[in-house]
Amino acid sequence: MAFQSHSRPVNPYVGTSFATFASIIIGLVIILVIFEQLGINSIWLGHVILVAPVLAYIAIGFLARTVLTDEFFVSGRRVPAFYNGLAFAAASFGGIGFFALTGALFVIGFDALAIGLGLVAGLVLMAVLFVPYLRKYGAYTMPSFLGERFESPTLRVTAALLLLLPSLLLLSAEIRIAAEVVSQFTATSFQVLVYVCAVIVVLSNLLGGMRSLTWTTAAQMLVVLMGLLTPLVILSVMHTTLPLPQLTYASLFGDIARVEQAGNLAEVASLPLTSALPGENTVTIKKQMLQMFGFIGRFDFLFLLICVALGSAVLPSGLMRIGTSASVLQARRSIGWGVVLMSLLMMSLPAVAVFTKYLLFDAVINQPLASLPHWFNELQGAGMVQMLDINHNGLLALREFAVLRNGVSLMLPIAGELPFVLVGFVAAAGMAAALAAAGAQLVAMSSAISEDLVQGALWRDVSGAKRLLIARLSMILFVIGACFIAIGVDFDILHMGLWALSLCAGSFFAPLVLSIWWRDVSRTAVLAGMLSGAAVTFFVILLNWTGVATSVLGVEHLTAAILGVPVSFATIIGINYLRPAPTGSGGETLDEIRIPDGETLYDYKERVISGRGF
């Protein structure tokens, strides 16, 4: 039996470096706030707070450069659990979570909690069903695992191709929201910013692959946490005298309810999901914050939650991160930390929404139109809010006020009348979230191309240098494609996120679960299941894209996986009974995967192949 080292050399200065980084960011914010109070041009300061972290990400990406394949694809298998958790959370959260989810919570209140619950439940599913086994196998990508488990290059190539579309959707959505937010904040052209963000994502990840990605997203996640929580804590202290915003926002419910009553907001009936979730145009608030299952009915809520959970459990960028832990135990700890951090974010978003609502209602609703605060007029100028004086009584009633969903996160510090630098800090945090998720998708796609499409389809093994080159070239290629989609296609980013999650769930959930938990499943069945699930899910979404129908058999396009996942399960089980696997096939690999002890199978294989010996 080969001797394996469980204690891989982790850089002992990781904690110090990140603590220094966080301190520098906080110090920078404080200095810039002081400068702003002293009268220095705040626009310039806003640019500084946006650009400085970005330079840091690119620097980290450069410092983590590598030419070794195991560093490039799995970060040398020595990422400590906490930082892996940061990376898991950053990739799942993204700009979609930071902006679209907060906005949805603002507009429809309780109903939007399904998405947050689903994301975290998905991480829990991943932790129970996949993490220890995928880590024990140790494949660099998820298609590699499937291909090796069933000894089938076809399966490997198919899985790699199927993960491209959802990842590309997420990549485009994240680049788009990053560019939109910065464009709103700095009044620069949106298209130029799309290219700029694309360049930033590529530069952060090109030279080091997964290694760059891990450390860059860890830094980005720290910025997200600081940027999201700082204005929140400040406003919580200012308005409720207690610094724990996730708990103090309850005290604001009374004031909000009073305004809702004055605006005659009745209880609403449920709508189809597509209409229930607020879109990207300015929307009026039609629903009480606390009403449960208002626009999104009870079962739609559950289905949305399940769909998001199943997708989040098999998100390719997450599954690829599993291999970067030092051992199976560390992998479990990593996903545990991911759950903790993601939960922290999800518990803070309703606080952001409620505080923003409270501040806006307090300052603006039922106030005379002539004497609205100047920051509100600036928001109007930026297009983030809209006023319509329907009844011409000179007062701004609740139904005369429309808000831009994606702008709600930025509205918190603005409505709280915090220094402009803090608004910039929130924008920088949102940009960090989007860049982190974009980077994760990009690395996932490029690893799949290099490891699975090229390496998996050829008989000979491709040399390490060539694999790196292919991965880097495909990064550049995909980011260009994402730019086209971000600029040219006008989909709602929340929809893009939900489609991507549905596609992942429909294609991969059943195959992964059954390949680990069912010994006698055959490769034909799994291939058929993957294709059928992907086809059904894609078909439902395609019907919506072509405008034919928004739902099939009562299943809407946003939750298409509700149809896709059962179809793929049924296909796998059905075909496996028709054409059972040859006895004894795959059993050995499976036995090894199920035991945490022992050497990572993929590393063993790589060593054998490269001739370094048993």
Binding site: M1, L113, R298, L302, I335, V339, I595, P596, D597
Partner: protein
Amino acid sequence: MIEREYRGRHWLSTRRNALLTLGLLLAIVFAASLFGDLFAGWHFLGFPLSFYMAAQGAFILMIALVFWNSGRQDEIDRRHGASEEI
């Protein structure tokens, strides 16, 4: 390293642990969503309890669940000699 003949027992315990965790996850999800009305009328820390469950309670329970599952799995591995510790 665990012997081949004992792997069956280890896998049985692992599977039971996983099923139990998934069942609890389903219970948490249902409590936060479908059966949210169970908590109607109660308040917790100033929140209506049904809102609190979906906004925070479920997350806290899920964190506890993940670490509990991980701890139990470590115990199972150690008991059957399949753990990575020497």
